[in-house]
């Protein structure tokens, strides 16, 4: 953008606070993001379902991992996006921050639900049970409840700015759950297997399985970003409609 290099960092930050500018920017970013997402997910799915080896112990059912693990990662990533945006909203009062947090919540909740369901489907053949109350599963379920509570709070308070601030407090208080989820398999004796990728000493998983997993994870992340941009645009338009409606009733 012309003249951007003459601004300080904080001025450039402020420049992106303008919703109209965000709409213009996301208008150009969205198609690109959608195309890259489709490419990554397509490649990832082909690799996961066809071109990667079956596990020597689990056989073909290991392929659920390529959906389950990225979903779980995105569930936590979504909450971190939500909590980070909430922190920015409370501290810097950035106008787009609480819109970002509100938009991220249903996407993160959906990924959490997907992780729980695919995990359950995987657990039935592997562990012999649809569900078990171990630390990892319980803390992921709590994450799902936190998402739902957050969305319920937004839905209940009518005034958007007030709702945004209250929801931001809730998101920040709940963010303590995310490290608990990650370390639950370390701190407690759980049925769920311990960390295989994000651990000291590097990934403990074969490269032929790691590559499709990482491609799927990247594809899921870009899917998250695409949906987030879409939802943020919808939310901005929704607020404009609300302002127009209120102005009309005042006349």
């Amino acid at each position: 953008m012309a003249g951007m290099s003459e601004l300080t960092a904080s001025q450039r930050f402020q420049a992106f606070a303008n919703p109209a500018r965000f709409m213009a920017l996301s208008d150009r970013l969205l198609p690109l993001s959608a195309v890259v997402t489709a490419l990554l997910l397509g490649t990832g799915l082909y690799l996961s379902l066809f071109a990667s080896p079956a596990d020597y112990q689990q056989g073909e059912t290991v392929r659920i991992m390529y959906i389950h693990v990225p979903s779980a990662w995105l569930a936590m990533f979504g909450y971190m996006v939500m909590a980070g945006s909430s922190a920015v909203a409370l501290i810097f009062r950035h106008p787009l921050a609480d819109i970002a947090a509100k938009s991220a919540a249903p996407i993160g909740a959906a990924f959490t639900f997907l992780a729980l369901v695919t995990g359950s489907l995987w657990g039935r053949p592997m562990w012999g049970t649809w569900w078990v109350w171990d630390a990892r599963l319980t803390s992921m379920l709590i994450l799902f409840f936190l998402y739902l509570g957050y969305m319920a709070l937004w839905a209940t308070i009518e005034e958007p700015v007030r709702a945004g601030r209250a929801a931001a407090v809730l998101a920040l208080v709940g963010s303590i759950n995310v490290p608990i989820i990650h370390y639950s398999v370390v701190w407690w004796n759980t049925l769920h297997q311990p960390a295989s990728v994000f651990r000291i000493g590097g990934p403990a998983i074969a490269t032929s399985m790691l590559m499709p997993l990482l491609i799927m994870a990247l594809g899921f992340t870009l899917f998250f970003v695409t949906l987030l941009l879409l939802r943020m645009r919808a939310e901005i338009l929704r607020r404009r409609v609300r302002v127009l409606r209120l102005a009309r009733t005042e006349r």
């Binding site: 709590i142 409840f145 209940t156 308070i157 931001a168 407090v169 809730l170």
Partner: protein, 225 residues
Amino acid sequence: MIRAFKTLVLRDTKLAIRVGGGAGMAVFFFLTVIAIVPLGIGPNLKLLGSIAPGMLWVALLLSALLTLDRLFQADFEDGSLDLLMTGALPLELVAAAKALSHWLTTGLPLVVAAPLLGLLLNLETSAFGPLILAMLIGTPALSFLGAIGAALTVSVRRGGLLASLLVIPFYIPVLIFGVGAAGGGGVSAVPGAGGQSLALLGAVALVSLVLGPVAAAAALRANLR
């Protein structure tokens, strides 16, 4: 400031006792929940005895949740909360004072009722002491964490159910460690695990003493602008 804090605690405690409905109803709800458990799962005393610590804690949680909207709603509706916000006492201490008086008027009566209700569920004799101790340490956590939910929904009419939903995820550690400290949940099989759970419960309670008022004050400020 200490005098202002004491005055606020005293005021809220007196109001809760005089207006009534808080402690009495909570204890009555505690009693009814415990009473319908054997009706639901059958009168097998051995089974009841084994789930007694867990059921007592779950019923305690639900009873505490019921009284949460009393924390800030009344003062919000008649404008006292606005006055308190502009007063000499920092909003965090206001929230702490209200949570403390909630514990004194609701938490403590529930803890007193718990052993009597334990008799209804055939709780093991050796578990009574640890249960009371665990509840004494855990109920302040319930009041202080509950203040967060109450503050988040203070501007919502009939927001009691929403406050409960928001607060239950934060109550879960209290529940897990509280049951462990009372000897339930299979923890009694491991020697020393009860003490570990009690220590962790104490840690959660201490964190809630700080986290609760700070988050509640932030939520009040968000709701009252």
